[in-house]
Symmetry: C4
């Protein structure tokens, strides 16, 4: 029941959905560090060993930032909500399934970048999970937009529409990055990271840039 | 203290129970990914290695969805509450004990599916933990129903009753799935997954289907 | 600023302290499962291997229940608070340090029970961490009792006093259990578990038993 | 939406930022325990093995306390906020990136202290991450101070200014400790720990000490 708003029989509280989701986001984003390590013979040249593991850090930062921006989008969706419903709770579980799965392909990329054949597979697999996550988030966002009775007031509607600006084209970007990653794996990961950075730019900044152009 | 409602001497706040439970649910559901891995010689045929690990994904998705629906049921119980009490706090700890234990049998199933003798043991063990979790959740739900002074208003009571519709027969389903899993382990896990999907269907949808029939 | 109550310059919000603490409690209690495993040759007799690991389960349940009751006590302290202060935030960090350290001695007990010399060391070490945690919690509770301006109303004061009933003698119980554990390690762990169960009994039940006697 | 305050179009709720951050802080601080272990031949002299691992405990306590005080500073910033904005959400992600990265250099320090060459690298690397975290936190704090429209009332402003007293000189302390750690690695870690302890002292205590002097 939590705060303020009264819910109808088919509505569910937003607060609980936020609490559980924040937990999953926070854990997935923090678990990534567990995969970081140095070679077992690192003690001879620790500095070189640490630097040698750059694919790990690239994969780490990419996944951290991706989960980070998914959280940003997620919080801008839920902060616009007056109430949630049963479908939204389930769509949200799908988003969380993909968020919490991300450390697995991240680990594969970190391990196999630089090894000819497997790196191709790892980077494409990683990209497919990223695009699936992007699609699940878009579904959650679209569902909210199409069920305006769940949304608070006008300011909240505007905030929701702003998210669309960025999320819309992101699937196409990911598709391109996967193709690039098939041909040049390291470039693919760099593009995944770029998409995460692009998604991290506030919607208001993008709106301002468009208006100026 | 938290929000709004005043508590009598024997009552405890619901918010704290939700916060702690959300944490345990979120962590248990996210830890599952740590068990995913590929064979140490995966680099030769990474794609084949990834596909070869299907029992891992089956176990992963089954446990993810099971914890997900337990969370759905749990949140529909607590969102109907005006206050909790000492017994409910303890019953809740029992539910959380089983939720947080689930990654262990999940790991065994992921590892041993396909290996004749141990897979039988792993799948039955997994099923027993699932049925124990189902029973603990039913106890928590039943306790709430029988202590209506803890429940908010009429709309909340209806929401509680809805949960019964699905939870009631689920123990029987699990019993059947365990027997099936003893004979055909992989079928058993598929049935556990089916039960989780069945429990994920919103109560309102089931009510509508029953009315139509 | 969160909910309702206005804070003076030296007071800090309780909600944030609860949120962070719930996170640490939830993670520490769920991480315990990561240490559960079966021997590497378990596939030959998986059932026997699972049963053979009973010291793991004993340690698991003992630590789970201990963290669970510390959470119960902790939540009964914070739910009585109107506001926290800087000292309380720091005492709370000490409690959390010991809670999050607990998986380490738990792992040692799980591994070494049954091996003559090391089991003695592991069980005493485990007991010392448990008693330190018990003392830190007692300090937090005592600080609250002695700073009544932080406490809400009279009902909250009563709730606080109730906690004292159980926490008071628990340090002596732990001291006895450590001595027993030095002589008979497995008995020591069984006693640690018994103390956790004793602490899990609601204060109101103990009050009623005392009144009857 | 959440609690009380109405937000303008460019403002974001503080509650969600706190919930997610508390999750990351709680997980990072609790994951540290996973790196604690004893040598594989520990059973012969468990007590000696446990004591022999003192660099692990030193690194553990240092990182635990550092994350703890960053949480204290973070909570004193957010508790002064009426609303957050897009930039603050992103600065906060930077703080969390460094917090969740900390277990990696902690692991390196725990492993290599006592081994001549690598310990130097590990301690300096650890120090650089600590100083980066300190800078990110200072940026978050400074941004808040410079955007007073996000701050609640006068009492909140005073609370914010108090944080500055301690955070300001800390970067210089870290710089000194890194130099010391390059020359005498163990001393470096001891200094990192001292800085965390210094940051843990309540601002009001420091104010009082200054006034007295």
């Amino acid at each position: 029941m939590a705060a303020g708003t009264t819910l109808t029989r088919d509505e569910l509280p937003v607060g609980r959905l936020e609490g559980f989701s924040d937990g999953v986001f926070a854990i997935a984003i923090t678990l990534l560090v567990l995969e970081l390590s140095v070679a077992s013979d690192a003690e001879k040249h620790l500095l070189r060993s640490i630097l040698h593991e750059w694919p790990q850090y690239l994969a780490y930062v990419t996944s951290f930032l991706t989960i980070g921006v998914v959280w940003l989008e997620h919080s801008s969706i839920t902060s616009a909500l007056r109430a949630a419903d049963a479908t939204m709770y389930r769509l949200n579980l799908l988003v969380l399934l993909l968020v919490s799965f991300l450390p697995f392909p991240t680990k594969l990329v970190a391990e196999f970048i630089g090894e000819r054949d497997p790196e191709q597979v790892a980077v494409v697999f990683y990209g497919l999970v990223l695009v699936a996550l992007d699609l699940a988030l878009t579904m959650l966002w679209r569902y909210t937009v199409e069920h305006r009775r769940l949304v608070g007031d006008e300011a909240d509607e505007e905030r929701l529409d702003a998210g669309a600006l960025k999320l819309g084209p992101s699937v196409a970007f990911y598709a391109g990055a996967i193709v690039a990653g098939y041909l040049l794996p390291t470039l693919g990961v760099a593009l995944y990271l770029s998409i995460a950075i692009y998604l991290a730019v506030p919607a208001s900044t993008i709106r301002r840039l468009i208006r100026r152009a």
